[in-house]
């Protein structure tokens, strides 16, 4: 009767607990690292139907963001431009390029070019571009250095924590609204200068970003 379990079995409960702790720890660590927007979203760079280069148009040629994303100051959406906007230039420049064939087809037929979405807030988030850019939050804060991107890439997590970091402490990310589309701009006074100016803006412009649910969820 007494010999059913070998002596080494005495260690078994401890081993099981140890295993569970280690295994649970690994699963937890893996989940917190791999299953967050920081990991899953950053680096997403889908192939677009037209290989549009922001580096070329914005970085090199210096076309302002708002030339194409013209609604960004007026609406919640920073609308992707219509084919007509592209054709403003490309009816003259590279008007035979095969790469631009989908744009020309869209302009002719009215059917949209099927751009692949890179940055996407969930349906239950009502993000509004206009209020951010008009109050001095630059495009670069959420979209990264788009002016250097050949292919648009997701560079910030855009998770709720990411939003709240800034909503709780907006000073490091505020600049003169005139400068919001200058993605290369950095405060001449360095980090301290930015914070000092940012805090001044927070006070002077009554910046009071919502931190409750109702700010973004309706």
């Amino acid at each position: 009767m007494s010999n059913i379990f070998p002596k080494s079995a005495n260690q078994l409960p401890l081993q099981i607990i140890l295993f569970l702790v280690v295994f649970g720890g690994i699963v937890t660590a893996a989940t917190t690292y791999y299953a967050t927007p920081k990991y899953t979203r950053i680096g997403y760079a889908p192939v677009q139907p037209v290989p549009f280069s922001h580096a070329k148009h914005n970085g090199e040629l210096g076309i302002d963001c708002r030339y194409c994303h013209s609604t960004v100051e007026k609406a919640g959406h920073a609308a992707v431009p219509t084919a007509q906007t592209c054709m403003n230039c490309h009816s003259q420049v590279k008007n035979q390029s095969s790469l631009l064939a989908p744009v020309r087809a869209s302009y002719e037929s009215g059917d949209p070019v099927e751009w692949v979405r890179v940055h996407q807030a969930p349906d239950y988030v009502y993000f509004d571009h206009s209020v951010h850019v008009n109050r001095g939050v630059s495009c670069v804060e959420c979209h990264g250095q788009v002016n250097e991107m050949e292919v648009v890439t997701h560079t910030k997590p855009l998770s709720m924590g990411f939003c709240l970091d800034c909503h709780r402490n907006p000073a490091p990310n505020l600049r003169d609204p005139k400068l919001v589309t200058q993605l290369d701009w950095e405060h001449p006074g360095g980090k301290e200068g930015q914070i000092a100016d940012g805090e001044k803006f927070v006070h002077d412009w009554n910046i009071n970003p919502p931190q409750s649910c109702s700010g973004c969820h309706r």
Partner: protein, 1133 residues
Amino acid sequence: MKRKVEHPEPSARELSGPRYWRSLDELVETPGFQDKLAREFPDGAADLNGVDRRNFFKLMAASFALGGMGLATGCRRPEANILPYGKSVEGVIPGVPQYYATSFPLRGAAVPLLAETHQGRPTKVEGNPTYAPYGGASLMLAQASVLDLYDPDRATTHTLDGTASTPIAMRDKLAAINSAAVATGGAGLAILAETSSSPSRARLVKSLQKKLPKAIWAEYDAVIDTPPATAARAAFGKNVKPLYRFAKAKRIVAIDADFFHAESGALGYARDFAKGRRVIKANDPMNRLYAVESTFTLTGSMADHRLRLASSHMLAFAAALLAKLSGQSSVARLAQGLEFKDQEKWIEACAKDLVEHKGECLVVAGAHQPAQVHALSYAINAFLGNIGSTIDFVEMPQSNVATLVDLAAVAKAGTVSTLVVLGGNPAYNAPADLDFAGVAGAVSEVVRYGYYVDETSALAGTHIAATHYLESWGDARTADGTVVPVQPMILPLFDGLTELEVVARLAGSDTIDPYSIVFDTVTKLAGGNAQDAFRKFLHDGLLDGSIYPIASVNYDQAGASALFAVAPSYKALNKDSLEVRFVIDHKIDDGRFANNGWLQECPDPITKISWDNAILVSPRLGRELGIEPGGAAIQVARKELAEYPQGKENAFIGEVTVNAATVRGPLHIQPGLSDWTMVLPLGYGRKVSGRVGQDAGFDYYPARSSQQSEFATGATITLTGERYYLANQQEHWSMEGRDLVREANKEEFDSNPNFVDSFGIESHAPANLGKDKDMPLAAAAAEIPRGNSLYKTPEFDGVHQWGMSIDLNTCIGCNACVVACQAENNIPIVGKEQVLRGREMHWIRLDRYYSDGKIDAAAFGGEGNKEIPEDPQASLMPVACMHCELAPCEIVCPVNATVHDEEGLNVMAYNRCIGTRYCANNCPYKVRRFNFFDWNDRSLDQLYMGPLGEKGMPELVKMAKNPEVTVRMRGVMEKCTYCVQRIQQAKIEQKVKARDSDNVVVPDGTIKTACQQVCPVDAIEFGNIKDPESKVSKAKAREQDYALLGYLNIRPRTTYLGKLRNSNPHMPDYDDLPLSRIEYNTKNHPSHGDDHGSGHGEAPHGETHGEEHGHAEEPSDGHTSIMKNALRTGGLS
């Protein structure tokens, strides 16, 4: 290398015998088949779905590599696309709604609207504020009409002889009808249309009548909402119609007139009435309403003196009133036999009051009343000098159309070969004696133009699908004659034809494009530069100066007398000879909105029954029939109206026989009905309708005859013994002597404007709950105790602090807010079965209470409680989430799904909600709604199907949703958000405007909640209570402001303004307190129950009040259990 298989040659027997073949290829021996035969397997069959081993390993290597990258690809959301326009559309900014002026046509009057469109998709309509008489308010029906546009059950195709057809075929058909009619001068062609106010249609009809003089143009509407023209013609010798000016009237007598709902232009009337009703401070003027009515209408619920009288006795009443006023004996004979309680005194006091307000009083007769009653009311108004001040007459164009009666006679004689039914639904709602089916049968061809495939379509060979008004070009007139545009917001979803095009084609006009027709009509009316005028017309949404001209009229005694030369018609009623009154349903009108789920689910404002139309009987008749519920429930102070097993009203089914027809329906005992009148609401019991309207309720149209279409006498009722469940959304009807709706008479208010704080538990509670409840927010945050709770009092430090004020004195209880809220906030419908379980989702509801002042002191079991009130006062109260500052729902939520934001909103985070429903349980106002099912994703018959059911919302229904509001899923709680999407949008717009300045405070009046915007009487104010100058702050600063259940110390942000009744002390039914107050006093001060004035009613003693009773160890003046219990349990300390 492929191995070649050599088959042996076929034997001779094989070649000569019957040949079997497996395929045609084999039979004809194609080269491909020969090749296939030669192979062991077909080409590629050995490959793995076209991938060979080599490729397989290549692929697997790639996917391992991807897998090695971690969860990046696996967890990513599915790829989404952004689809911009090919060519930019002028004025369209994605995500920013656009507003266009249009209007909602309904019979002879339209409601001017602004339609909100999201990239060409109309989602919501609001009143057009440019039209001053309606001031931006709109109707419940207009609000719900958006849903009809996206109704999957509407006629989605044209039909020709039972098969689907095309618009081109329909146009040919109409052209063929026209050319056939031209050959005969129109003989044989008859057109039956609904009445319409459209000037363009009137013009086309005129041209049709000119071109086809022998054609018959008839118009029919199932309900009458304009006074009969014959009365005005007799009284004034002119074709005029009255426009009432309620705003100027200080004394109003409504003779069976529901001018809040059933009259054409009711929206403006309700609005004007509220202007005279609104009382800001003590001694402000307030109008007085005498309502004489057979049924219990909203107008009756607002009345200061309400007299129950059968509809058929109104003639006698009007005559008696005129006789009393003018002393004319000529009309007195019409009043013969009139009999009601305190008759002499009632009429005398009322007449005296009117005479004292000559020129500023008004007598209104209901549109459904016969011409004699109207002529009498004109005579009374003329005698009192009201014409030109409180009542104007406008000249109406003489209409030259036939009636349905004429048409039926001609058609039955066999002289009509083609009948075109333009809209309407005569097969369902024509008077039974006209036998519309027979009429249609006597005609060789019936062409039907309609929005739904319905009862009439079933009789027609051809069905032309109509467009919705939001898809059509058109025009219309409001009740006062202002021409307004009907502009399309979207191309016809199902290739429908507009009404103007159909009429133009029938008339053989040269212009058949509806836009051009409207352009021609309007520019001709406007004059000046046509293009400019038309653009202005579309922009403003109305044509300036197109109002009907006011006619100067003189009362013509002789003309009117001719009308009175009828035999006195007074017939006494009793339980064996009852009166039946047919009323237009409050929600689905004459049945045209039967397939609209929002309207079906909206409760009737008085009975609170949804999805059904019960036959209303008076408590007296209920007693006679023996259908009064037996046994008073112990736990409530009153006996219920009917049995409510598990919250379902279990009604008896009765059969009403009148006009030689019998109709059946469930009986609902309705307090306040004239004893021997039964009310039959029309519009339900549709036999051919969509999924929503089909078979909902009961059809009472068969009991109508063309002679007695509004009310009929000589009816009988029998019980069938069957029972039927009614989805009644309010089972309970008594305030139990509590202080929920706080009312006072005008005199008491004038001497004690703060009456609301001198009764109710607050009058005994610490001052912060009563008098000082409006203390500054900063002080409130610091000083208000929150019981012994560990929870912190919110700091109220946001830029704005939102609050709402609802004026119970002007609220007429019309339910427009309920439907407007539903449209704005994507609130689903749940169907009758679920309403029976109490799962309706409305975020705002209207509580309706009856009081008759007879509550017994003993409260539980006294005699007074065993009577269903026959003559009650009704008090209505809109209740939505109050956004309590110390919200009880928040402290019980285990997952922080409902929390406070910095601006005082009690917000719901749907993603956090796990559906414990604790919050709903802890809400004292019962305003939280739970998604028991995926209402949005499942049709109502699929709710219980679980995983087997069909899921997904039809595309068409998706289009009706407001993109600014989350569509909620199963298992989450929801409730009023104060229209947080509108608040956020306004704040964002203000911040965009502010840019690098600090001007971020939204100006007062920018934000209107959906309920506030629709409200016909402006009873709701919403805004920033931090700003003392805002309208809502001013409303809350008024003395009659109080919080519902304020003694709970939860500090609701929505407060109410007390209700006033302006009773006439000389009237026989006068009480110095409203009946609900009498009940309150009787219950709470039983020792001096009949001494109403003493105790709390008296003038300025509020200050000392708290002390007076607060310290009392043993309340000596008889304060009863509530107070004692509250003190004992420490609920108030």
